[in-house]
């Protein structure tokens, strides 16, 4: 009996303590926690950039259009139509009519101006405002350059706006090199092409006289590695974009080399070399041509990719019986498998941030572009189609571009981009069929 009463008392005291009167002492600020919100594109207003000098109106309109398109193209912003604007920006230095912008639910406001400098250059300047808070977001910036570079300046404006609002690095001022395809499927013509990330300023780096594959940018964006079949066998060549001159890397007789990638410092190239029916990974110093073997296994090792710090390499191998992903130290050594899901994994690419690896996955007759942590965890498939392959990362590690081919006799490969969240799947405009993209770093 006494024990029961004691237990009853303990239970009561515990209950009193747990269900203490809700009137807790409020000696300090009232603290609350918010966990629920909404995830939606931010409404942004981009009124027409002002032309501050004669003859700058066309460029001003073009710059405005590119800035808005860059932001909207991320899927993180929603442009408020210009017809809905109440306030009119008549001067770059005019005060902001906060009430007018709030009335149309604007949260961010980008104002800008373009002018022609006396030396023939154009000047593009902008300011960014947080309309809800009623204050500027960072300082205004201006860029100057040749008139022909107006697109790059527009992209840089968009990069700055994007970065200030999202906290992430931008990726608009960048380029993409890819394989442009033409002709019938049984006589495909391929050549290297280069363009702005949004498809503008298309140019060709090679002609269609030989098959080319797997172009890859150098870390400074000035050179491109690619595989060519000009000798009838795959060979790696190094192309200087500025001069257009390409030279083959040092090679060993009786071998085939392919799937090259630059090291983060741009001084070395890791690639696959086939010799005697066996394919392994090798690394070569570009300047000296000295090469070293990294793997020595009877299986096929290919598609290597350096980590951003240069300490490790992820690659594809069938040593377990099916194509899987492995990571090993840059100097070679034991490789650790990181892919364990159903299906086959290939073409791994390390994110510029170093936190994730993008890959191609084939399973049950479908192809996917996916990402996973560098230890193989948190695998997520971002796309699914008849044929998705060959991912490449945007400079900020938030967007992936890849090749998507449609089925059938008339199916053509094209370039697509998708956010790492799996949202905002978009086709990258190219004049013709395109495949095998490689994204440059952010241009200086």
């Amino acid at each position: 009996m006494p024990r029961l009463l004691t237990i009853a008392r303990l239970v009561f005291c515990l209950a009193l303590g747990l269900a203490a009167p809700a009137a807790l002492a409020q000696d300090g600020p009232l603290r609350i926690e918010i966990t629920e919100g909404v995830i939606e594109p931010m409404p942004v207003a981009v009124p027409a950039f002002l032309a501050e000098t004669a003859g700058a109106d066309v460029i001003a309109a073009d710059v405005t259009r590119v800035v808005a398109a860059d932001l909207v193209g991320t899927g993180l912003f929603r442009e408020i139509p210009r017809e809905a604007h109440i306030a009119r920006v008549t001067s770059f230095d005019a005060p902001v009519a906060w009430g007018d912008w709030r009335a149309i639910n604007t949260e961010a406001l980008v104002t800008g101006a373009v002018g022609l400098a006396g030396d023939g250059r154009i000047v593009v300047k902008f300011r960014l405002f947080d309309v809800v808070s009623g204050q500027p977001l960072g300082d205004g910036l201006q860029f100057a350059g040749p008139p022909g570079q107006w697109r790059r300046m527009a992209h840089k404006v968009a990069d700055a706006v994007y970065s200030r609002i999202t906290g992430e690095g931008g990726y608009f001022d960048s380029r993409v090199v890819f394989v442009a395809e033409s002709g019938p499927k049984n006589e495909r013509l391929k050549q290297l092409a280069i363009m702005d990330y949004d498809g503008a300023n298309l140019g060709y780096l090679t002609d269609t006289s030989t098959i080319v594959l797997a172009p890859r940018f150098s870390p400074d964006g000035a050179r491109v590695l690619y595989t060519t079949f000009e000798t009838g066998f795959p060979r790696i060549k190094l192309l200087d974009i500025g001069s257009g001159i390409a030279r083959p890397l040092a090679e060993q007789p009786g071998t085939m080399t392919f799937a090259p990638r630059f090291s983060p410092d741009g001084a070395r190239v890791v690639y696959s070399l086939e010799q005697g029916g066996n394919t392994d990974l090798w690394v070569m110093e570009i300047a000296s041509g000295r090469a070293a073997r990294l793997t020595n296994a009877p299986s096929i090792e290919t598609a290597p990719s350096f980590s951003p710090d240069g300490s490790r390499i992820v690659f594809e191998s069938d040593r377990s019986g099916t194509q899987q992903l492995y990571i090993m130290p840059t100097a070679g050594g034991a490789a650790e498998r990181i892919s364990f899901g159903q299906g086959r994994y290939g073409t791994p690419v390390w994110s510029p941030r170093g936190d994730m690896i993008a890959f191609t996955k084939q399973n049950a007759g479908r192809f996917h572009i996916g990402v996973m942590r560098t230890d193989g965890s948190e695998e997520r498939l971002l796309t699914a189609s008849f044929l998705d392959e060959g991912p490449t990362w945007a400079p900020n590690g938030r967007v992936i571009m890849f090749t998507r081919a449609t089925a059938g006799a008339t199916g053509e490969p094209a370039l697509y981009s998708v956010d790492i969240s799996g949202r905002n799947l978009r086709r990258v405009p190219t004049p013709a069929a395109a495949s095998d993209p490689a994204w440059s770093p952010l241009l200086p």
């Binding site: 009853a8 009137a23 609350i32 909404v38 790492i420």
Partner: protein, 385 residues
Amino acid sequence: MERGETIGLAVSGGAHAALILWVALGDLLFRPPPPRPVEIADVAMISEAEFRALTAVAAAAPRAAPEAPSAPELPDTTAPAPAPSSDTRAALPPQPALPEEAVPDAAPDVLALAPPQAEVRDAPPNPILAPVIEPDEQVLPEISPRPQPRPAPRVAPTPSDAPAPDAAPAPDTLAATRPDEAAEPAEEPAPEREAAAPEEAGTTLPSEAIEDISADEVASSAPLTSLRPRARPTARPVAETAAEAAPEIEDPVDPVADALAEALGETTQAATAGAQGRIGNRISQGEIDDLVRWYERNLCWTKPDPTTLAGRTTVTIAVSMDLRGKAIADSIRLIEPEGPMEPEVRTAYGAARRAILKCNAHEFPLSTDKYDQWKNLEIVFRPNR
């Protein structure tokens, strides 16, 4: 003895369980009721002698002096304005006035933004806030003195006889009779009840009437432990009543009974104090939850993309609120995480700041009576839960 022990155990267990439920659910049961439109209340008929006894007790009971409300902290408008940028700021649109009568049960109305003012000033905007006051000034209306109880009109001015008990009609009188043929009414009709409460309603509650009723009557009719919260200002009568009632069923020399009585006295006092706290001027957990739901339901917070670093960053914001429940923009500051502001923290802070300011367009859910408790908020924005 065993039977007594069994009875005591049963009573103890039941009492403890009841108290635990009361404490656990008390907030739900005894949350201060929202102000309602005046409605007609049924009143039991009591004799004039009983009423006089009631009023005499009420007048004699000591009452605690009401707490003088502290003057709300108003923003320091004398502080130097931030250095103006090249773009001067426009005046904020006037905020919608708070409704005079809140309808808590209904979903809160989303107040539309006032039409924007196109006026753009070069000078720093005048804050649309309460005027600056000297420290010794009082802007709030004085709290009216507690009214003295007086006979309420709802009580019959003159005592009337107790109504005759309902008598079953004799079989031979079941035949319907026309009104003009009915016998004289046995009693005068009850006075017409007022449709509205008097301006100064009495503060006595029917339950207080039992204070002067003998303990025996309470023990015989009232539950052993009252589940009703005692009205202000004292809890003594309930405890005393329970203590007085307890011996009715307990053997004074039984140690178990003594422990039971002691526990009952302690629990009722503690629960009463808690009940008084809930009914009093303390902000309740339910109100805090309402505040959280207000921010979330109004979708004020646009969370950064969860795949970004900012979308996984938790920030804590300190903000001061004015008397209307509007966040004071200049008071918003980041308090966690500390240290240099990384880009993702800056982004998360920006989103949180916008959330706080966007919610200024909505009616604040907390009462101004408890302004001193919510005038300073710390809001944790945790996106990845």
